[in-house]
């Protein structure tokens, strides 16, 4: 399979902090690649190195099978990216931002393409408004629009759902899936939320303190059957009591407000739902949760 990004033994140090420490990453054509790690793990530093915003101390980066720094302009003309916050020129309209940035992308960008991209991110109606009047969510979508304006093959998204409401997060997920499945783009998606990546990515890497913790197929890595489940009910105490006194008791974790939390096998979620309903507990929600922190603990305990 064709490698789109190939990072080998990458290092970057800021004074006393080793931000990226012997990092190796491979992203293949067509991947939605999850780049995961807690805050401060070195994700944004790595992305900045991919975009030539900062320079590696050591190591090599190849994109589209070419060394990055020797082929910078050629490579960047085929990449669209949001690096951290979607900061654009606030005193210009969305349309003007895209027009100006499009012109710098090495490809002719016409009015039709600008409108097409604005439509795709749902900003066509506000195209002529100044960016300073936009909400954070709208700026985030405009950030994605500027990444897509020159129809790049590789899209790098650095925490694209940060600061968005659940509806906004869902829209971004759908957009990522559309870009991957319909437009056949390769996507490098950085996030600190495992469940977000799990929903869209086919491959992922988890890094911490600049080092690789684990890398592979999402389906393989998250195969572990045990997950945390949150049960929303109006009788949390009775629900917790029932769980503790049943066969589910060993997985019981906590009761807080209207939420009862327990650890259990994913396959058994319908069973517990049935059990609670049979015991006249009104279940308003049953949400499987898998946090990056728990996943970390899980894999470190297993000795990865």
């Amino acid at each position: 399979m064709e490698k789109i990004i190939e990072i080998n033994n990458l290092y970057k140090r800021f004074k006393d902090i080793m931000a990226v420490d012997d990092l190796n990453v491979n992203v293949y054509r067509g991947d939605v690649f999850g780049f995961l790690g807690p805050n401060g793990a070195g994700k944004s530093t790595t992305i900045r190195m991919l975009m030539t915003l900062i320079f590696p101390a050591k190591g090599s980066i190849k994109i589209f099978d070419k060394p990055l720094h020797e082929n910078r302009n050629y490579i960047l003309s085929r990449i669209g990216a949001i690096v951290e916050k979607p900061d654009l020129y606030n005193y210009m309209s969305a349309y003007k931002n895209l027009e100006m940035l499009g012109r710098l992308s090495g490809r002719p960008i016409g009015k039709k393409r600008i409108e097409e991209v604005l439509e795709l991110v749902g900003l066509k109606e506000r195209a002529k408004s100044k960016v300073k009047t936009y909400s954070f969510g709208m700026k985030q979508r405009l950030g994605i629009a500027q990444a897509l304006i020159h129809d790049p093959e590789l899209i790098i998204l650095d925490e694209p759902t940060t600061g968005l409401d659940p509806q906004g997060m869902k829209e971004i997920r759908e957009l990522i899936l559309y870009l991957s499945h319909t437009e056949k783009k390769t996507i490098f998606l950085s996030s600190h939320i495992l469940s977000e990546v799990e929903l869209v990515a086919n491959r992922m890497i988890i890094i911490d303190k600049g080092k690789t913790v684990v890398e592979g197929e999402v389906s393989e890595l998250l195969k572990t059957p045990w997950i945390k489940v949150e049960i929303e009910t109006d009788e949390p105490v009775r629900c917790a009591g029932l769980i503790k006194n049943s066969g589910w008791g060993t997985g019981f974790e906590s009761v807080k407000d209207n939420i009862v939390t327990l650890n259990m096998e994913k396959e058994l979620i319908p069973e517990i739902n049935k059990f609670l309903i049979e015991n006249s507990i009104k279940v308003y929600g049953l949400t499987p949760k898998r946090s990056l922190e728990e996943y970390f603990l899980n894999i470190t305990e297993k000795g990865h």
Partner: protein, 278 residues
């Protein structure tokens, strides 16, 4: 590169602060010309007081040219502040807004970005001086008409009406070269920080310190003078000397151009190696 320079100029002229210079110059020229309209005779009398017993002055001496000469002398020392407002923001402003990331993620080299921004800053400074020229000569001749230009330097020289315009054009060009140095210095400071206030204050501090050093009449400071770019900021007056000192003019052009080239090169050197962390 043409696209980039256009983009940079567009960005400059979409910001309110870029018009402060033009507005300030317009207001100052209007104030000076209004004052001259009412009090110009007194100024002319003051200017020619030592000659009035010997010579008889005739014709329209209080004219647009005299006022333009006066305005250029009075304002050229203050224009650097207006120039640093924009040039100090050219790079630091991108860092403050966070737009560096987006701009430098495009397939344009850092050399192209620095060069286009630098040229846009120089064009802005040039336009500011040209505006000063157009306004002071245009409005001056409209209000006061044209005529011979009387200039008091070491000696008093009277230039005929036909001999004046080229001197003004040359003087404005040399003045804009001097402003180009200020723009270059502010641009250099702008590449070092992430907030435009620092470059504005640093540039103005350097100009003020240099002006003070130039003004101290001690041998040590006199020896320093040729190395201070501010020493050349009033050299536009060489075009209004009784004789044109081409050697001095070329020296001034050389020193000012060298300063601009050095400031640009240092900025480029720093920026090409800079990690963008904003």
């Amino acid at each position: 590169m043409k696209n980039l320079i256009g983009f940079e100029l567009y960005k400059i002229f979409r910001k309110w602060r870029s018009y402060i210079g033009f507005i300030a110059i317009t207001l100052l020229v209007l104030v000076v010309e209004t004052a001259m309209y009412f009090e110009g005779d007194k100024y002319l009398h003051f200017l020619t007081r030592s000659l009035q017993d010997t010579f008889f002055f005739t014709g329209n001496l209080l004219n647009g040219y005299l006022i333009a000469y006066y305005v250029l002398g009075a304002l050229v020392i203050h224009i650097p502040f207006l120039i640093t407002l924009v040039n100090g923001d050219l790079l630091a402003g991108e860092a403050t807004m966070g737009t560096y990331r987006m701009l430098l993620s495009r397939p344009v080299s850092r050399f192209q970005i620095i060069t286009s921004k630098f040229l846009a800053g120089q064009i802005y400074s040039f336009l500011l001086i040209i505006w000063l020229g157009v306004l002071s000569i245009g409005l001056g001749t409209l209000l006061f008409g044209s005529g011979e230009l009387i200039v008091v330097q070491d000696v008093i020289t009277v230039f005929s009406k036909d001999d004046v315009l080229w001197r003004f054009v040359s003087a404005y060009l040399l003045a804009s070269l001097s402003m180009g140095v200020v723009a270059g210095l502010a641009f250099l400071f702008s590449s070092l920080v992430e907030n435009a206030i620092g470059p504005i204050i640093s540039t103005m501090t350097i100009i003020i310190v240099f002006l003070i050093l130039s003004a101290i009449n001690i041998d040590f400071f006199r020896a320093l003078k040729p190395y201070l770019f501010t020493s050349y900021s009033m050299d536009w007056r060489l075009f209004f000397g009784s004789e044109i000192d081409a050697g001095e003019i070329w020296k001034s052009i050389g020193v000012l151009s060298l300063h601009i080239a050095v400031f640009y090169s240092v900025t480029l050197f720093i920026f090409k190696r800079k990690d963008i962390l904003s």
